[in-house]
């Protein structure tokens, strides 16, 4: 029996389906990532799995228990960290944990010990009695992680746990999660729109776009599933007829996509393809205006499977292009 089983789950709001026929399983002890832009349906999915939303159709089971039929039994098994920071700002870190320990029915004799242990585990013991409003964003997120663990859940759901945190705090949260997973024998299902986060933390990643599952595998296999070990991104001043074909004929090139005057070239040997590319440009008497060579990332995987870059998808979800504010100056 898998820790989480999702079958043909769907959630529609009127004619719009935020989650559209998803099926996957999460095995015990895994860190499973749901990767996708804002509006992809990740939070809706996690809310259905944590009993906060009722699916329109399909089923979801946590440790074999149906989330719709036995929501309270599911709630006892799961710890949930919502996207927003929701700890009580006026209460201290310890008070927040104590109140949630009571809400989860942790017996009185264990409560103080559990609170202390968890504050220690998330390295907040020195701030136990400080009001949450005095803690930094990273510390608050660590407190919320501790809060989700007060009742020793089997499965931990985190909705974009590092959104809004600075890079140092993000790394601290990653390390914290890896440590807690090991110490508490947790299965973790997390959503993120950070490729590096999914790459670094997750055993398997499901890429979701427009409510649909577009790819699911380990980060390594996902990266290997797209043509080329390296990705060259190159742009030119002007290109002659048949230039796309020329690029495809270069040594070790697996795949070429042109998008807004930028050519993304998948190659099995980035260095050799780069040399041949420069030689071809010299022969065609065109100028290379930018060139970058990188190993395949989950971002490339996202582009490969969805046909657009994650930042484009984020802008689409926001409804505007943030660059417009800078370009109008």
């Amino acid at each position: 029996m898998a820790a989480v089983e999702v079958e043909n789950i769907r959630k529609c709001f009127g004619s719009f389906c935020a989650v559209d026929d998803l099926t996957f399983t999460v095995e015990h002890g895994e860190i499973f990532g749901l990767l996708g832009p804002n509006g992809a349906g990740k939070s809706t999915l996690i809310r259905m799995l944590t009993t906060l939303l009722v699916p329109t159709s399909g089923t979801a089971r946590i440790m074999g228990i149906d989330v719709v039929r036995s929501p309270n039994a599911v709630r006892k098994l799961i710890g949930v960290i919502p996207q927003a920071l929701t700890s009580d700002l006026d209460l201290s870190a310890a008070e927040n944990l104590k109140i949630f320990a009571k809400l989860y029915g942790v017996p009185g004799e264990r409560r103080a010990r559990v609170v202390k242990e968890l504050l220690d585990a998330v390295e907040l013991l020195p701030w136990a009695d400080k009001p949450v409003k005095n803690l930094s964003g990273g510390m608050r997120r660590r407190l919320e992680i501790a809060r989700g663990l007060v009742h020793a859940p089997k499965i931990f759901f985190l909705d974009e746990p590092t959104t809004g945190l600075d890079p140092v705090s993000r790394v601290a949260v990653w390390e914290m999660l890896a440590k807690l997973k090991k110490e508490h024998d947790l299965t973790i299902l997390m959503t993120t729109h950070y490729m590096d986060e999914a790459d670094k933390l997750c055993d398997r990643v499901a890429i979701i776009d427009h409510g649909k599952l577009v790819a699911l595998d380990t980060p390594m296999k996902l990266k290997a599933s797209i043509p080329g070990n390296n990705i060259l991104e190159v742009s030119f001043t002007g290109v002659p007829e048949g230039w796309l074909e020329t690029l495809k004929s270069l040594a070790d090139v697996q795949d070429v996509k042109a998008e807004d005057h930028v050519y993304r070239i998948g190659s099995n040997n980035g260095a050799r393809t780069t040399v041949e590319l420069m030689e071809a440009a010299r022969r065609a008497r065109i100028e290379i205006t930018s060139l970058s060579v990188q190993s395949t990332t989950l971002d490339d995987v996202f582009v490969h499977y969805t046909g657009r870059q994650l930042r484009d998808a984020l802008q689409e979800a926001l409804g505007f292009d943030p660059r417009m504010f800078y370009e109008r100056r």
Binding site: T51, L53, T86, L103, P131
Partner: protein, 370 residues
Amino acid sequence: MHRILALIERDLRKLLGSPTLIVVSMFFPLVQLVVLGSAFGGKIKELRVGVVDQDHGVPTVKLREMFGAIAANARTFVAVEYTDPQQAVKDLREGKINGVLNIPPEFSRRVLARAAPQVALIEDNTDNFSVGALQGLLGGLVATYNQRGADPRVPPGVTLSVVELYPYVPYIQYLLPGSIVLAIFISAMIGGGIIYIDDKARGLHEGYLVTPITKFELILGFNLSGAIRGFMAGLILTTLGAVIAGIPNPLEPLRLIKLLLVIGTTSLALISMMFLLMVRVNDPLVPRATFGVLNTLLFFPSGAVYPINGFPVWMKIISKFDPLTFGVHAFKSLLLKDTSLAAIAGDLIVLTLFAVLALGLTTLLFKRTL
């Protein structure tokens, strides 16, 4: 139970962490109590006047005919017949009637003998508005009676002697019960409205909803913590207000116990009503936008600043369904008349039933999902 206690603990910790909120929620009712120390005008109608006719003579019949004519036309009062003057006074004390017109056994004989005949108006002088209206009207009635072109055997000079049941009640004392209820109501609006919706909008409730807490536990926890906050507000205002208004012996133990009972019941009823109104609201602007209207719509029809008898019909209807009315009545009974528990039992029952009904409906309407 520990889950309900957790919610209460959380709310009280928050409240004690912001003493400014406590002061602010009490400041307005105290200001109102002190500032609005003047009476309100208005034509009072349909006061219930007990008529005790111990005479039944011809002059009495004439007097009662004139009384009946005013009751039928001006509708200032409604006559309620009594045979036992003690029962009439008892009902007056318990607020069932607004005054007693006592026609003594020797009235007709004294009228005919021109031997200083008298009728008595026994009045509930805790209500200056009603008393003023009754005195004016019955005084006029007696004057008219004296001036009529009657049988010369009937001597003029009938006088009305007024009997006040209680010491003089200044308007600030009259206003105190309403101010206490207002303090509880403001506490309910802040706790059950603004803070509740703000917490919901901030996602705090999402944290509660993923725990195994039931709908009923959640609603009961919110209600009890809100009621405790209202109780604190009511208790502080009762104590301070009684001192400011000069209520005699406000903290006499038995009276204090009855007052605590009314404060608790009123708090529970008002917070339950507020949660019922806000249970499906998500927008934090809604409580802020509606509280002014809600306050006016419920506070003024409660009889807190002016007797309900002076209201138009539609306002009387509101007052009948307004839980504040029953709180105000119970506080008036205890603070101004120091009545028995029996006199406020009806108010306590209505407030309790209201709280239970509102709690049940809120639980039904509360969505356990987002």
